[in-house]
């Protein structure tokens, strides 16, 4: 069978599986819609969290990103896994004990204030929208590249699928499709990695393979450092970013991860507090499988790429080179007309532009793997993008129907009415996300980092203080969130979009890049919260009792329907 037939077959099979699951797990109550009825097992929740978390960016772009940045890419590896330690230890068990539906639920009740709730809803909406636009774009890209349809058609098909199971099944449908999607995406990611590791080093485990020796008896990493030096790039195992910046970016990604509402809300779906801890353990284990393999793929792909193209005759390059040139992901310009490909660090002399996404997408072809592996990659990338989009969609719809309509605008709405509102807001959210997917605002790529910075600067301090500092009051928390978010927005827009006079790298405060600034804004949030709370009245007694109550695991019961 040709690669194209394999792609249609595998994508078709996995899509019918997702739709089948959606029909089987329809949601009939708001509790099922928001938190899957609160009865998901820790293992299933761990799988679903892992799929929810790993987006098109983790699946397609991350290995390539590391491939081009070497050691500097470690910020993503540590940043996007270390946050789960914070989640498991500082947030998940207590939020589960609190036992409501959403993050603004916690902020609103703990800080006894609808202003705090509204600020939280606003933060949840910006974070989720910046994130989901990127996912829909990812779906469109994969469709257009593999199924040879127009990008916009791809986005629309993706929208319809997500719509179908998110609107029908709510959190219940999403959870069980995500379990299936995790299996598809991890299989798709591991199979080529194992093949290539074996080809290059004789070791079946990629995590060990990239520290092993190749056919020539030289350690792969030493060889790559040598190749990089020769071509004028920085050594692979040493970075080019400052230590300070690496520190701040890693921290912003970790803390942002722990503050992302679509991740936190997954821990509301389990039965009891100890299950929340367990599912955080499962989730990180499943995520770690992909995250420890990605740096291995990065090394294999980098060596393969350099060895295949560097100083080779353009005419004699393998077939895949031409295939990917068509997509614009590879561009060759023979500047000195010698018919050879010069791939070097010097911009003036470099003749080859390589898009980072190609490192995962074209990897099977570069390594000459069988056609079915290519189909697998397409199905895996779609699973990664769809599962994350669905999780975000649910946060958006719950923020509108539950936090805004039920809690603030129309408290006496019936359960049936709220369920309709939830489905309608999911519908509108998909439409909006699809619109951004088709007409991507230039800031999409830039704002994914913003989503993490915002989550770190807004939710994380408010939640942690709400659990660990009984004296924290509404004045402190609101002031902290508002200052944190505004500071983060100011810094990002100043240095990313040139607002407020813009600025270059030299103007960065304390040498911190916008990607790492979330850490700084978070520290400011903590400081402001604590100082303001010292000068304002202590929270009422009932609230202090809530705090004491969430610190004891027993008696969590089912997620209450209020």
């Amino acid at each position: 069978m040709s690669a194209q037939e394999w792609i249609w077959l595998l994508v078709g099979l996995t899509f019918s599986l997702y739709i089948g699951i959606a029909i089987w797990s329809r949601a009939n109550s708001t509790k099922e819609f928001y938190v899957a009825g609160g009865g998901v097992s820790p293992l299933a929740n761990g799988l679903a969290t892992a799929a929810d978390w790993m987006s098109a960016a983790s699946f397609i772009s991350m290995a390539g990103l590391i491939s081009f940045s070497g050691y500097d890419g470690s910020v993503y590896l540590m940043g996007w896994t270390g946050g789960y330690v914070l989640l498991a230890l500082l947030l998940a068990p207590y939020l589960r004990k609190f036992g409501k539906f959403t993050v603004p639920d916690f902020i609103g009740d703990r800080y006894y204030s609808d202003i705090a709730r509204t600020v939280a809803v606003f933060c949840a909406l910006i974070i989720s929208f910046t994130y989901i636009a990127g996912q829909m774009r990812g779906v469109g890209l994969v469709f257009s590249r593999y199924l040879e349809v127009d990008i916009n058609t791809g986005v629309v098909v993706g929208m319809l699928i997500v719509l179908f199971y998110a609107v029908l099944g709510g959190m219940k449908g999403i959870t069980y499709t995500q379990v299936a999607q995790y299996c598809v995406l991890i299989f798709a990611f591991m199979v080529p990695a194992i093949f290539i590791s074996f080809q290059m080093t004789g070791n079946l485990i990629p995590q060990l393979g990239f520290g092993a020796t190749g056919e020539d008896g030289i350690y792969l990493l030493d060889k790559l450092d040598g190749l990089q030096r020769e071509l004028g790039f920085h050594e692979y195992t040493n970075g080019s970013k400052s230590t300070m910046d690496v520190f701040f970016i890693t921290a912003a990604l970790m803390i942002g991860t722990a503050g992302l509402p679509h991740v936190i809300v997954r821990f509301f779906t389990v039965k009891k507090v100890s299950d929340a801890r367990k599912s955080a353990g499962w989730a990180l284990l499943f995520i770690a499988i992909l995250y420890t393999t990605a740096p291995a793929i990065a090394v294999f792909a980098r060596i393969n790429l350099i060895e295949t193209v560097s100083n080779k005759k353009y005419e004699e390059l393998p077939e895949w080179f031409g295939n990917w040139e068509v997509t614009g992901l590879l561009e060759f310009e023979d500047k000195n007309n010698d018919g050879l490909v010069q791939y070097v660090a010097d911009v003036e002399e470099n003749e080859l532009k390589v898009d980072r996404d190609i490192m995962v997408l074209a990897n099977p072809e570069i390594a000459k793997l069988p056609n079915w592996v290519i189909g697998l990659i397409a199905a895996g990338a779609l699973a990664a993008a769809l599962s994350t989009a669905a999780g975000l969609l649910l946060v958006i719809s719950a923020s509108v129907s539950h936090d805004l309509i039920k809690k603030i605008i129309k408290p006496n709405i019936s359960e049936k009415g709220e369920l309709i509102a939830a489905r309608l807001s999911a519908l509108v959210a998909v439409g909006l996300a699809g619109y951004f997917g088709i007409h991507p605002p230039g800031f999409v790529a830039a704002t994914v980092a913003l989503a993490f910075g915002l989550a770190a600067a807004s939710f994380f301090p408010a939640i942690v203080l709400g659990i660990f500092y009984k004296r924290m009051n509404k004045e402190g928390a609101i002031a902290g969130m508002v200052v944190g978010v505004l500071l983060m927005l100011f810094y990002m827009t100043k240095f990313k979009f040139d607002w407020f006079g813009g600025g270059a790298k030299a103007d960065w405060w304390f040498g911190i890049s916008p990607e790492g600034f979330g850490t700084y804004a978070m520290l400011v949030n903590f400081t402001v919260s604590i100082i303001v709370s010292k000068f304002t009245p202590a929270p009422p007694k009932e609230v202090q009792e809530i705090v004491e109550n969430i610190r004891i695991p027993s008696g969590a019961g089912k997620a209450h329907a209020h």
Partner: protein, 84 residues
């Protein structure tokens, strides 16, 4: 649960958290970032040790930390009779 017991339970919980978070900080920010160059002079097969911590080791330790936390807490919950 009695107020005094609650305070005791909470204090033990915080002690665990502190210990685990120190390890969390040391393997990632310490071994993987601040002292990466010093550790890179040591080799682990084909890996420089600092690089290995940043791209592999820290992640393994993260997983381990959560599992240790689960065990410690389930023991603590039993001890104070707050398990389910």
């Amino acid at each position: 649960m009695e107020k005094k017991d609650l305070r005791q339970y909470w204090r033990e919980n915080l002690k665990y958290l502190l210990g685990l978070l120190i390890i969390w900080f040391v393997v990632s920010y310490g071994c993987g970032i601040l002292f990466v160059e010093e550790l890179n002079t040591i080799r682990l097969g084909g890996f420089k040790l600092g690089f290995w911590f940043a791209q592999q080791g820290a992640i393994y330790v993260f997983v381990l930390l959560i599992y240790i936390y689960i065990r410690l807490m389930s023991k603590l919950d039993k001890k104070y009779g707050v398990d389910e």
